[in-house]
């Protein structure tokens, strides 16, 4: 997915993007091994709060969804469900090679290959897993992107909703599961 930087925002949107860039609340979806890299990023050593970032409890409150590792099909259903509960503008940051192209699970029947076929990923942080330094670097990148108005994944998702839905259904069959465990 390639986003062109067509900067036709009006002044209000620019101010709004300034606020969005400097106050990023994240919902941190601990899917894979990457979740363990987040606590050092948040605490004294790297101190994410100086960028204005902080953890939030629910997707409704959050601005950015962190996908920290491989996604099985079951998890992807929940991630999509969570993402659709978020309020725009919202961004997705995906960690590690698993989300980029399947990583070491490239041939697994249970994990997906590339994430951006199902959800609009604004930023990938490469690595297996990325260390906190890389993560901080990535977040800096995200802040710059939001400031410039380049992080428009949510808009892309809304505009190409059918395309994303088709990909999701092709791979997952169904997103909202109703069986004996989900009553």
């Amino acid at each position: 997915m390639v986003l062109k930087n067509d900067d036709n925002r009006n002044i209000w949107e620019k101010i709004g993007d300034y606020f969005s860039a400097n106050s990023i609340w994240m919902k941190w979806y601990c899917t894979g091994c990457g979740a363990i890299e987040m606590p050092p990023t948040m605490t004294s050593r790297f101190d994410m709060e100086r960028l204005g970032m902080g953890p939030m409890a629910t997707p409704r409150q959050a601005d950015v969804l962190l996908i920290t590792g491989y996604l099985s099909t079951k998890t992807l259903r929940r991630v999509i469900y969570s993402y659709e509960q978020m309020n725009s503008p919202c961004f997705i940051v995906a960690f590690g090679s698993c989300t980029i192209n399947g990583g070491i699970y490239y041939d697994s029947y249970a994990t997906i290959g590339r994430l951006d076929k199902y959800l609009p990923v604004d930023l990938y942080i490469a690595g297996c897993m990325p260390r906190p330094e890389t993560i901080m670097n990535g977040f800096n990148e995200l802040i710059q992107m939001i400031k410039k108005g380049e992080a428009k994944g949510w808009k892309h998702y809304q505009e190409n909703y059918e395309w994303y839905k088709k990909n999701q259904l092709d791979s997952l069959g169904e997103i909202i599961i109703k069986d004996e465990f989900h009553e």
Binding site: S23, E49, A57, N87
Partner: protein
């Protein structure tokens, strides 16, 4: 009641918002330094609020919206009644009971809106918040009650004014030492700071009442939280620490009191809700009753200094 009253009221709201939000931002830095971190920028809290207001939001029906408006409206009305170093937008209405019960309008609005979202976490959070309120309010109200009896006045500004002029010895927190301790402990409970923050526990119950808020609703909650903090700290400041003769003294004392509460909470773990109730009904309640009886029966603490 003229138009000027409302203009003053609006200015009070604006000033309180700017002051308290700045102070919250600075206190985030204080907490960060306690944890050996660099911390957020001092204006981070403004950015957070405006960012939240900027975002789109999700609504769960009219009661969800109405509750938020009612909460913020009730709280803002309460802020207008708070005397700020002798200045009041609506003079004479700074009755302790009016303030503490008008505060409940905001609470009820927030609880209604949270439960109206239909999320079980929100209901659990509300249940805990109300239980917490029952815990901290009784000891505090007993001390305040004794104070009203002794001063023959329930007006915040009058009680504050009576404590001024004698330096630190005039403060009720010094004259009624047990009551002062109860007040500071209750302040922690009122502010929902650790160790009494089980109702907004983010990891356990997904931030409790706030679970379904996003966008402007969440922004409202943040603004509401700033105003509520102001009311609670100002209540304790006026009643126990003598308010302030000038606006600068008031602001300084306020900042010190709030930072003090913040530092205490910064090094505390969290009580379970029933532990909090048990704690409040054991130590602070006993201290409050002793203090209240001393003040009512002997007059000690109010008259002895005169």
């Amino acid at each position: 009641m003229t138009v000027m009253n409302f203009v003053y009221g609006f200015l009070v709201l604006l000033g309180v918002f700017i002051f308290q939000t700045t102070l919250t931002g600075l206190n985030r830095k204080v907490t960060a330094r306690l944890q050996k971190r660099y911390g957020a920028r001092w204006y981070q809290q403004f950015l957070d609020i405006f960012k939240a207001l900027r975002k789109d939001s999700t609504s769960h029906g009219w009661v969800f919206d109405f509750g938020v408006i009612m909460a913020l409206g009730g709280i803002m009305a309460t802020v207008i009644f708070i005397p700020i170093s002798g200045f009041q937008a609506f003079p004479g209405l700074d009755n302790v009971f009016v303030i503490s019960y008008l505060l409940a309008v905001g609470m009820l609005g927030m609880a209604m809106s949270a439960a109206g979202s239909g999320n079980p976490w929100a209901s659990i959070g509300v249940a805990r918040a109300l239980t917490n309120m029952l815990a901290y309010d009784i000891p505090l109200m007993i001390v305040i009650f004794a104070m009203i009896f002794a001063y023959d006045s329930a007006s915040l500004s009058e009680i504050a004014a009576m404590q001024q002029g004698m330096g630190i010895l005039g403060w009720n927190a010094i004259r009624m030492p047990l009551g002062g301790i109860v007040a500071v402990i209750a302040l922690l409970g009122m502010l929902g700071k650790k160790p009494f923050d089980s109702f907004i526990a983010p990891a356990e119950i997904a931030s409790g009442p706030m679970v379904e808020y996003g966008g402007k609703h969440l922004g409202f909650m943040f603004i509401l939280h700033e105003f509520m903090t102001f009311i609670e700290v100002a209540l304790i400041l006026n009643l126990f620490f003598g308010g302030g003769a000038t606006i600068w003294e008031y602001m300084l004392k306020y900042a010190i009191l709030y930072t003090f509460a913040n530092i205490i909470s910064g090094v505390m773990p969290r009580f379970k809700i029933d532990q909090a109730v048990r704690y409040f009904y054991r130590v602070p309640l006993a201290m409050a009753i002793v203090q209240g009886l001393v003040v009512i029966l002997t007059g000690l603490g109010v008259t002895i200094w005169f």
